[in-house]
Symmetry: D3
Subunit: 238 residues, 6 copies
């Protein structure tokens, strides 16, 4: 029995509110249960130094937790003067995941930055960030297409992410904070619609798992991502 009463393969409610802020080219407040992340997509007509002159664009991400997104207040990274290793690891993951479905040539020499700011945390902030970032990116790209700034859609597949884990011996989908704190193993899957894997990050500090265990988690992830893909479709439908 899961602490939340959910079935092993049951996601939390996915909530999506597009246009949550007005300045960004794309913005969404995405919720996986009590985890709430505000994602904005910002289009800038320049690329970072290492991409200049290639005729291609760039997609990148930044991630942050508001200090009191969590049960007890964490210190503000801007005040400490540096981003934690965890923050950097997550924002690199988000960027890679979005680039996995973006044709940078078709984007043209411009950058889209996905800012993922966690308003409230209850487990799964990185997977909600990736899933929401696709929506914000899609909205921003749609704007570029509508205005004629780009001719061909650089974003033809969806990407979503979900965490799975082994909790009290049972593989479960979409861990909340209570499960995450006591899970024997924890895996984040970034999947692309059509069945492909973009990223797997599976960790077992306490227990370990074998090949069969990994596959069971992957199959749960497919169930979860199918539900996220549907929510993404609905959010960007015109």
């Amino acid at each position: 029995m899961r602490p939340s009463g959910r079935a092993a393969d049951e996601m939390r409610a996915i909530t999506v509110q597009t246009g949550f802020t007005k300045h960004a080219e794309g913005s969404v407040l995405i919720g996986f249960g009590d985890t709430k992340v505000l994602v904005t997509a910002s289009v800038e007509e320049r690329v970072p130094p290492f991409m200049r002159g290639k005729g291609e664009g760039w997609v990148t991400a930044e991630y942050s937790m508001l200090p009191r997104a969590t049960h007890t207040r964490g210190s503000r990274e801007a005040a400490k003067g540096k981003q934690s290793g965890r923050t950097q690891e997550i924002q690199r993951l988000i960027g890679r995941s979005l680039r996995a479905v973006t044709d940078l040539k078709k984007l043209g020499e411009r950058q889209i930055t996905l800012d993922c700011d966690v308003i409230q945390a209850d487990g799964g902030t990185r997977t909600a960030s990736i899933s929401g970032a696709w929506i914000a990116l899609r909205l921003a790209v749609q704007g570029l297409l509508d205005s004629g700034a780009i001719k061909e859609d650089p974003l033809t597949r969806k990407v979503a992410a979900i965490s799975c884990g082994i909790h009290q011996g049972t593989p479960v989908l979409d861990l909340d904070y209570i499960e995450d704190s006591s899970a024997d193993a924890d895996a984040n899957f970034v999947l692309i619609e059509g069945g492909h894997i973009a990223e797997v990050q599976a960790t077992a500090e306490g227990a370990t798992y074998d090949e069969e265990g990994l596959l069971r988690l992957l199959r749960l992830a497919r169930i979860g991502c199918a539900e996220i893909f549907a929510a993404q479709d609905k959010a960007v439908a015109r």
Copy 2:
């Protein structure tokens, strides 16, 4: 005529949504028109080193803009590795304003931190922050009173803040971004209910004003704060 069509002494709509996040001891999403600030109050049972052993508490604030709260994306302070002078100036102002209405002795040896994170900016982010921070602080203090952690209410007066300025020669109340960018002079007033002044920060880069001009702005500020005090009362009514 103001760009927004408002009268000279007309505030933007004040919106208040308490309990916007669930972990904080007090939380509010406050809006002054399109300016939206999420304020959380976090209670910690310790005080900063310079207050230890005095039998008193402390109230402090941190302030930040989400990178895409603004028209164009600003760089993230956590990524740059330092807070700007503007950020530090604002968070010091918020802290002083709240301490002006808090009896630190009655608070006991604990700290309350007000985190003010600007979700969307359209002028007046510091005044919305102060006005919202009072609500979050009030909610957190109420919790301490309800639980018996403190016996006497350390917070017996309300504090609110509003900006005024001289726009095209006319003193106006509650500047939005368009007015703020082109104002001849700009003043932020922090007022305490009952007519007292806690802080004045008046600046004139372009024009300057005289004693009479300062008083006209102060009178507008009284009008605006009266409206904010009413919204605060409504927000914390039980």
Copy 3:
């Protein structure tokens, strides 16, 4: 009775020693009683990035306390690796105050930096800095006019600053350290000759004041600034 024996509207002795250092285009050691600030004006034939290509100049300021300017040694900001919020707030104020009396177009595409280094502190370091910075700026601008680098004087009015406060219930002028530490309220006024206000920064951590109190402090500030304007005139007379 004030601790120093001064009358309520009595300034400390203002001392001005121009040419205190030889390399700077303008330099002055200004004293408000025991508060001593060395201000240098440095002219550079370039402007910061945000001003490039506008055909205008820029005036900016930096502020620092020597570690043992104060009663007990403070840590050196260069050793700590960052400037405090207080330092940044003050140097922003100094820069704005000087720009309030400078016609940046007439200055041409060059920058003048006012470095205000507090040699000894006894209250009022920011107001002495502003008042002295005008002298250093005036001397540097005079050099540019004399050499023909600029044709029209970009600096046609004087600016000065003074602190006032309510000490034991009485509004007093030019607070020294003892008064400042125990004042109920503290206000810094930056005034321009001719009666205009450039900046007001009024704070009341303990008590608060009302409109009448603010005006009484402003009137004291006028008295103090008149004396500073006279000292400035004398210092730059040729």
Copy 4:
């Protein structure tokens, strides 16, 4: 055909030189072909603040590349003043991997730090680091057992890591730099002897893979780790 002429399931030569430096409680220079990493294990009789008073120990890791370990010189992180996100991600991975095989209670209240400094890089620096770190840790723990500082061996299983990837459509084992730069997908596996998985980090920026692809990479990883386990056994045999 692989650029190196190796078979798809063929590792590079593993070289192990224990006792490479004399001060550390354990030290090894490990090579996976031209990738050379110096790993030292340092025992300290204290634990980090978050572990104090629990009666348990801690195992952590730091990772760095010498500036000219690579084809072109990279900037020195100490000179830049911060560690990159990649560095932090890798050192967190190394630490977790070693903790997965360490019984922290049996270690007692002390910390062992694994410093992994890449002397020469040719792909697979993080996997060589983990594999070498186990040897250094084993040597340090043996010293603690020999001296009687600890009674029971906290380290009863081996851990090793290897990268696999899809290169020109073929799954291959132990990617060198040339393969890594052009791989369609890249996965790092951290395996524990006995067939268990401690960590999987699989990334596909260009292509993606499906379940079958992931399993093929995992099977290659088992082949590689078997070879590393043998080299580890030989290195620590007494």
Copy 5:
């Protein structure tokens, strides 16, 4: 012929103004010609962590140039967020030089910090700093003896420093900025009265010198330090 018209073994005028600031336990404005350094000695009743519990004191130094001490404005280290290598090298040298004449046991468990702030630079700022720091330290120690805080004088010898160099083939004493910029070799000597050497830092980027050259510079340094010792005696005479 030297640019200044001085003889090869002729010092610039040494000026000493003790009590330049009022808060420090010892303070002096020392001048070697146009080089002016303000040195303050601050006594604190605590020692740094590495000296705790030894029953000994510590003497340390910090050094800084005001941004416009030099011909062209240098950037402020506090604003840049770090001290340059040159700054750190000099402050370490000053600290070592003063400790060479201090009996730390007799000082008792307290720290004296010598802050050397260069007001105006014209070559020889580190040697003026050391020579002035001895005066400030002597004054602070005298205060400790007078108050009875310490019983025995920990400072029984004087220390002074001077630069020498080879300028256009001729060994010269006390280089000013013009000579320093074009010198073939440059050496700083820290000497203790009675003929002993505390430190030699001799550098030859352009030319080099031989044993005889080094000795000629050392002999010039003796002449210069004799003059500084006399000035120190006069400054601290009661």
Copy 6:
């Protein structure tokens, strides 16, 4: 009697292994007894900003200790976020020493960086670094000559460095860690073949020395450097 049993004028064994890493244009693992430093020379076809457009090259150095090069683990400078004063002082010394024997005009507009990473420390790390850096630089320059990138050899003399000190009253050559920790005085000499002095850094925290003492140390240094010059010759012989 020296702790190591060496004669007063006896060097530790000098070991030199060129080509220790494969990517660098020059690389060497140099040992002075148990002190082992890896030095790489990296050629880059650009110069730092202050050298641009002069048609000259630049030679610079960076220095670091691996955290466990020493008896007890030191913290990693990259993790602390800054280089210590000692590190900066040493890398400045290495750079100056190499530039003393390099004709920057003949090098052409390119930079050579000498990275000196201490693998194991037992005293004399800076002198081993300088002595090894010359070898790495020589190898890199030889590559530039061989490829025709430069026409004339910019490096016509050798430079070497050695420490000497007064240990228990006796002047001794090439101090190891035990001697260094207890030496009365310590001097590092950087000598150029042919008898010239490039740098002297002589320090006496405890005792002091006189002219005769300095000369005796210099003469020991000549003995040591002669031996290093021979080792350098042998290392770069083709």
